[in-house]
Amino acid sequence: MTPSSPFLCVITDEALCPLSLAEKALKGGATMIQLRHKQASGSQLFLWAVEIRKLCQKHQAICIINDRVDIAMASQADGVHLGQQDMPIDAARKLLGKHRIIGVSASSVKEAVQAEKDGADYIGFGHIFPTSSKEKDYSPLGAETLRQAAALLSLPIVAIGGISLENAALLISSGASAVAVISAVSRAPDPTFAAHKLLCAINKSRS
């Protein structure tokens, strides 16, 4: 269901056009694009989702929609990413069927274990490092907590939060199957090159 690891998930940036970002990230080798835009209207999200899904297919990448199971269904995206305040996994699974991917955010080992039990396909685990992309009310989990989660889980873990070229490899060697980034790609002078360099970094860490 999820790609062979290690892989790179690029999440769209609320302040930038998701289409052009997705295209640039995919050219750099991003394995998964997550469309996340809390302010956009349903019609706008649907149009973006359809286009990003097409781009992902062209690049053999995976298209994931944040929160909106309805938009994922309508656009025939590969799956959804659900936060702890989004639709519960069992309800989403009934709507999406077993072949679509359901990723779930966890900000503690406990939440991650619960999400695995509830039938998630991957765990978005974070934030690992301090991040400016989202307002957070808890402190970063750090690579050690990631290691603990990885020891307990059999699902792929996508590490998220404050990930950069410098620390990405450490997270893979700590047990993550993938890293997810927003600003490390979206705000880079050359997003395609930034995605490419991140992929190189996490692939080197394997050996």
């Binding site: 209207s41 349903g42 019609s43 706008q44 999200l45 649907f46 929160d67 909106r68 199971v69 309805d70 938009i71 269904m73 309508a74 702890q84 305040q85 989004d86 639709m87 519960p88 309800a91 989403a92 009934k94 709507l95």
Partner: protein
């Protein structure tokens, strides 16, 4: 493709929209309202709670669905077809900027699809998308919509009703006193939020309105 004719012939003429002020928790205004609906008067009921998370919305919708409602009452979710399906609701109401009813109907063919319409061009879009009913407003002055300027007024309501064969619900500042005016302009029914907030009077309010709604 137009909407399901047999279905929209049976739509109730009174349309209750949730207050928008639901809190996560058990003792909510909407659930009280639903429990107090008079048995003899079915309603359209739309859950529209922008402040709740998706998870909280689903919890609310599941609780609403468990309440025994007057026969012929339809329970709708604002915009989110996924939540309507997950809670076995009867339909969705789509704002003008929502994903098209035509697309959503392919996912959930049995649901009722309503569309908000604020202009003639939006009417064409809604008809083309196969809407089952339309919601038009604000017809009269209403505090929550003043930021958008003057109300649309009865004449525009009349023009919209003449331009479509779909049922049109008039929304915005509707009371027992002006509901009949909307009906004379061709409205199919009326919709309101604050009119239904006083749960102690809810049954009376609905009785009084129904007397005004016979076309």
């Amino acid at each position: 493709m137009n909407g399901n004719r047999t279905k929209n012939n049976h739509l109730p003429r009174l349309y209750l929209i949730s207050s928008g002020e639901e809190m996560a928790g058990s003792d909510t205004l909407l659930l009280n309202q639903l429990a107090l609906l008079p048995r003899s008067h079915p309603c359209m009921v739309q859950i529209r709670e922008k402040k709740l998370s998706t998870k909280e919305l689903l919890t609310l919708a599941l609780k609403a669905r468990k309440i025994e409602l007057p026969e012929g009452t339809f329970l709708l979710m604002n915009e989110r077809v996924d939540l309507a399906l997950a809670a076995s609701l009867d339909g969705v109401h789509l704002p003008e900027n929502a994903c098209s009813a035509k697309v959503l109907r392919t996912l959930a063919p049995k649901l009722i699809y309503g569309c908000s319409v604020h202009s003639p061009s939006a009417l064409r879009v809604a008809e083309e998308a196969g809407a089952d009913y339309l919601l038009f407003g604000p017809v009269f002055d209403t505090p929550s919509k003043r930021i958008y300027g003057a109300p649309q007024g009865l004449e525009k309501l009349g023009a919209l009703c003449r331009a479509t064969s779909l049922p049109v619900f008039a929304l915005g500042g509707i009371t027992q006193k002006n509901a009949a005016l909307c009906m004379t302009k061709g409205a199919y029914g009326i919709a309101a939020l604050s009119l239904f907030r006083d749960t102690a009077r809810l049954a009376d309010t609905i009785e009084e309105l129904y007397l005004q709604l016979n076309p």
